[in-house]
């Protein structure tokens, strides 16, 4: 017999990385928020790899932070090793990655949630989304309790009808043997929501004491750590770091896998879900790239309070006996004791094409969705969507304008646009190559790109906002000064240039022009820059990048200008594409199904040609939009 328990403004279903950001955002924006989780112990759990960040994912975390999200702050508190990847490459692809103490990360996030006003955590399984007139009115749990609510954010991760598999062993559980959510899928289907089924996987965890590190190469963290959060300083978060270890697979490993491929559930057809190409299992890698003699394996600590080590690169769903043999064939793992087996996990999710770019379902008012539920993979991708869904649910209830970041503003914009627009049929991982305007979307300038938006929605406080404005001003005036500071071809300057293997000046130049030379930089030219005042490092970095890469940056800014024109051209939500003459049939079908928000989004739908876009523009003009 169902009964009314208590009403809330917002109910967040699931307390993983998406759910935590979503609930924090709504609660911080003064909405009474219920955060439901199947197990309070699993809040902000990291069931797979023990890191936050990495290529392009580090960008996402910085963007989350710039908007007022939590992930960056928690990882700055709980990291055990930190590294800036791609440091030898251009600034656009510098990517921050930290090894997390998993348990501490989870507890620190839980403590933050527990101490946030308006936020209530409850352990329960959701059985039904209650909808009236295509508008959410609440949710029902498996204990028949009804929680009336104005908005619901689904962040179910990999739990919906989850099934873990290795060899011929299969269990209907979520990750780590946690209880799966078996009721919600049916409720969503009955609301007319199209569901997909994806698959992902994880390697075994090995007892540190059984590993011979002398056969491996030590991988240390950076000496000078860059924080994820713009509210932290390198000095403020500096600490003793732990090491990771590098080893390799070998012929024997590959032989063991090849001999047992038929026993892999991926190859026997036992697993039906679509896997991600970015995180293939080792059996997948060996099958697809038979010429590779070895594959890298990184041994990474799971935290300071455990001996468990994560075996990065050896994700598998092979049977237990094959796993035992296979892991032990790797140098340094000869005596490995496996604490937990590797496994594959299948789960239900929604077809993300059913979402608006605000992450609200097009057909159900007040129902939002974020994270792996939308077809992404990764903690960072999940957290980014959770934050946006949380912000937009809040804006909706507060009667304010919702936010949609576009592809020229943020990786978050690229992520969400890809999910809601493209035909993604595998867990979606962020990559820097997915961003067209990569040079503008750097991890170092996420605050300059997004903190004003975070301030506007109310997640960034006055102090941080003022600091940003000050930073902006300093960058601008310093660039101007450098552009206008003439440098004569005098002896001192020529000597300086010679010292740095740089061509001598024939005529006078400006400081900015010298900085543009590949062998020089803002910091280097300080020697001949008499009027320089001491600026904070974060300002110096921006000045250097903006001057050095000015040509490329200007080029991308021009492209963005073109891009924005179509982005700003909005399409009425209820446009009847059958009434648009001359559209090609394929375009008509796709446009009707996805119902893009803007002409720009329409242009990215596969099967919609430039001519279709022209036709659409003419039609919009005709109907006066």
């Amino acid at each position: 017999m169902s009964y009314i328990y208590e009403s809330y403004d917002v109910v967040v279903v699931g307390a993983g990385h998406a759910g935590c950001e979503a609930a924090l955002a709504t609660a911080r924006l003064s909405l009474k928020t219920l955060l439901l989780t199947i197990s309070v112990e699993s809040i902000a759990l990291m069931p797979c790899n023990p890191n936050i960040g990495g290529t392009s994912k580090g960008h996402l975390v910085k963007e989350i932070d710039a908007l007022g999200g939590e992930m960056g702050k928690i990882i700055d508190k709980t990291y055990i090793q930190s590294k800036m990847l791609n440091k030898s490459k251009g600034p656009a692809v510098h990517s921050l990655r930290a090894q997390a103490d998993k348990m501490e990360y989870s507890y620190t996030m839980r403590k933050t949630l527990e101490n946030t006003p308006n936020l209530y955590i409850k352990q329960a399984e959701v059985s039904e989304i209650l909808v009236e007139d295509n508008k959410v009115v609440g949710i029902k749990t498996s204990s028949d309790a009804i929680y009336p609510a104005k908005a619901i954010i689904l962040c179910t991760g990999t739990y919906l009808n989850a099934r873990c598999i290795y060899g011929d062993i299969s269990n209907y559980t979520g990750p780590n043997g946690l209880q799966a959510a078996t009721l919600l899928t049916e409720s969503l289907k009955s609301l007319g929501i199209e569901m997909f089924r994806f698959k992902t996987g994880t390697p075994a965890r090995i007892d540190k004491r059984s590993i011979d590190f002398s056969k491996m190469q030590e991988q240390k963290g950076d000496e000078r750590v860059v924080p994820f959060s713009f509210t932290n300083t390198p000095e403020g978060i500096s600490k003793e770091q732990v090491s990771c270890w590098l080893t390799y697979t070998n012929e024997r490993t590959h032989e063991i896998i090849n001999n047992n491929l038929h026993r892999s559930p991926m190859f026997s057809g036992e697993i039906k879900g679509t896997g991600t190409r970015y995180c293939p299992s080792i059996e997948d890698k060996i099958y697809r790239f038979p010429d590779r003699e070895r594959h890298q394996v990184f041994i990474e600590p799971e935290g300071n309070y455990t001996n468990e080590m994560y075996v990065s690169g050896l994700s598998t769903s092979l049977p237990e006996d094959v796993q035992y043999e296979m892991y032990r064939s790797v140098a340094g793992l000869e005596n490995a004791h496996i604490v937990r087996n590797g496994y594959a996990i299948e789960y239900d999710l929604i077809n993300p094409n059913q979402l608006k770019p605000t992450l609200e379902l097009k057909n159900i008012d007040g129902l939002f969705s974020a994270g792996q539920m939308n077809g992404s993979s990764g903690y960072e991708e999940a957290a980014a969507q959770g934050l946006i869904a949380g912000i937009n649910a809040s804006m909706k209830l507060l009667g304010k304008e919702q936010i949609v970041l576009d592809r020229s503003q943020a990786y978050i914009g690229v992520l969400i646009d890809d999910l809601v627009t493209k035909d993604t049929r595998e867990p979606y991982r962020m990559m820097t190559s997915r961003a067209e305007y990569r040079l503008l979307l750097r991890q170092d300038n996420a605050d300059l790109r997004l903190t004003k938006i975070g301030y506007k929605v109310g997640l960034i406080d006055e102090k941080q906002y003022k600091r940003l404005l000050e930073k902006e001003k300093q960058i601008e005036s310093e660039i101007e000064r450098l552009n206008n500071t003439a440098i004569g071809a005098n002896n001192e300057v020529q000597a300086f240039l010679e010292k740095h293997n740089s061509t001598a000046l024939k005529t006078a130049s400006t400081l900015a022009d010298l900085i543009k030379r590949p062998e020089l930089s803002y910091d280097l030219v300080s020697e001949i820059d008499k009027d320089r005042v001491d600026l904070p490092e974060e300002v110096r970095e921006q000045v250097n990048i903006n001057i050095k890469y000015e040509g490329y940056i200007t080029r991308q800014l021009q492209q963005v200008e073109q891009f924005k024109k179509l982005e700003k051209k909005l399409i009425p939500h209820d446009l009847d594409y059958d009434k648009v003459p001359s559209l090609r049939n394929e375009a008509r079908v796709k446009l009707s199904a996805i119902r893009p928000r803007s002409v720009g989004q329409a242009s990215r739908i596969s099967g919609v040609s430039p001519a279709d876009i022209s036709v659409l523009l003419v039609y919009l003009k005709m109907i006066g939009k």
């Binding site: 001359s582 022209s614 003419v618």
Partner: protein, 458 residues
């Protein structure tokens, strides 16, 4: 949506005499200033009053192209409501093309099919009631243009561009794979390899560009099909057209369709005679190739030459052919007139209202009348020489030379020691440009290639 400057030939090229090149957009005046010279040499089109006409010359740098009249209409009082310049010339196809080339070289971009109309509409020039017609034009013209650019592209060119693109994509994907997974994939030493690959590619594109300049990248001409029953003399006719000293013959083994084609030049007009497999060798077109195939060929043709054996009465097969070509541009040849005539030309005229020419392929009689007919009809504008084809050629040439520029940028980036992620920008640009030639868009190519060519991830 964009307000860049576009240019196109706005008259049908098949009509001899006057051609008009139209330029529209914010740089229209500055483009014409760069290439126009008045007789005195000191007139600037950007400074003359709107809606005036000016005599002068078009120059590409120091090379004189043609004597022209230039009409200037400043926005918003123009067709597109933008600044519009029209160049009237009378130098025929080659000169018209050269002027368009020059206009594009100096800052305009080749207009998409229907783009002038689209701009006119979006800028409020065309009445709302005409919107549907505008939309119709845009998509039908684009379909036509795409069909043309693909079907007109010679098979070997298509293959070469595909090969070059996939080589660029492979290098690009390698860089991107390494940037996304730096701990598994290293770019050490790759610069040298990349530079070599790009130099090879630039050379190959240079060769393509050269053949494009010679007009050999695509086939320009009138697509012509010879239809008729078996043994009516189709092959003799073809042999006469191809085999004499009047004809320039090239064999193009088409890979885009299963046909052999002969290019024939008659009085300066190129005919691409499509010889579908079987027309020459098989006995019964209707049975062996099938009505559908004949219909398809007829649909794609600009001109159909329908050959009838005058020495045998018409039968059901002729009725089928007549039905197929009723609404097409066609000429009827009554062959074997050296034998007893069993067919009455007037009777045929009743069945099918087309011009009829009596010939004897065997005795080589009447062929010159066919040639005159083709020349007359072409210059009267009755024969549709496809303008889009020529435009396509210019478009493709531009795309290739811009792709070469982009690849040269990569080489400078390598030499300037810029980080690898900067190479991607220009590599992708070259890849996209070459894609335009073969009608392929980028979509998920990069991500797909990264995953298919390289072993990524943990």
């Amino acid at each position: 949506m964009t307000n860049d400057t576009i240019a196109a030939i706005s008259t049908s090229l098949s009509k001899s005499g006057l051609s008009i090149i139209r330029i529209s957009g914010k740089d229209a005046l500055s483009v014409i200033d760069k290439i126009y010279r008045s007789k005195s040499g000191n007139k600037k089109i950007s400074e003359v009053p709107s809606h005036t006409i000016h005599y002068g010359y078009i120059y590409d740098e120091e090379v004189l192209i043609d004597e022209v009249m230039v009409l200037v209409m400043k926005g918003p009082k123009s067709y597109t409501k933008e600044d519009v310049v029209e160049i009237d010339c009378h130098g025929g196809i080659v000169v018209t093309k050269k002027i368009l080339d020059t206009v594009i070289k100096h800052g305009a971009r080749l207009a998409e099919p229907g783009e002038f109309t689209k701009r006119a509409f979006l800028n409020g020039r065309i009445d709302l009631s005409q919107a549907e017609a505008v939309m119709d034009i845009i998509n039908s013209k684009n379909e036509l243009s795409l069909k043309n650019s693909l079907s007109q592209l010679k098979g070997n060119v298509l293959d070469k561009i595909k090969e070059i693109r996939s080589s660029i994509m492979h290098d690009l994907a390698f860089i991107e794979a390494a940037l996304d997974d730096p701990e598994h994939i290293s770019l050490d030493g790759f610069n040298e390899e990349l530079e070599n690959n790009i130099n090879v590619t630039i050379k190959e594109l240079g060769r393509l560009l050269k053949s494009a300049e010679n007009g050999r990248l695509i086939k320009e001409g009138i697509n012509t099909v010879i239809l008729g029953k078996p043994n009516v003399g189709k092959s003799s006719l073809l042999n006469i057209l191809v085999g004499t000293d009047r004809a320039i013959v090239t064999d193009i083994a088409g890979t885009t369709r299963d046909t052999l084609e002969e290019s024939v030049n008659i009085g300066g007009i190129t005919l691409n005679i499509i010889d579908t497999a079987g027309i020459r060798d098989t006995d019964d077109i209707v049975e062996k190739i099938g009505v559908e195939k004949a219909r398809k060929v007829a649909n794609e043709a600009d001109l159909i030459i329908y050959v009838i054996d005058a020495s045998v009465p018409l039968d059901i097969n002729d009725e089928i052919i007549i039905d197929i070509i009723r609404d097409k541009k066609a000429i009827i040849l009554l062959n074997k007139t050296d034998l007893d005539m069993k067919v009455d030309p007037n009777k045929i005229k009743e069945l099918l209202d087309k011009d009829i020419i009596l010939i004897s392929a065997k005795e080589n009689k009447g062929i010159n009348r066919l040639e005159d007919w083709i020349i007359d009809n072409f210059f009267q504008g009755n024969l549709d020489f496809n303008d889009e084809v020529m435009i396509t050629n210019i478009r493709q040439k531009n795309a290739i030379s811009e792709a070469i520029d982009s690849l040269n940028n990569v080489i400078s980036s390598i030499n300037d020691n810029l980080p690898e992620d900067f190479y991607s920008i220009d590599l992708m640009n070259a890849y996209e440009l070459l894609g335009e030639i073969i009608g392929e868009t980028v979509n998920e190519d990069l991500v797909d290639t990264i995953f298919s060519d390289f072993c990524m991830g943990k």
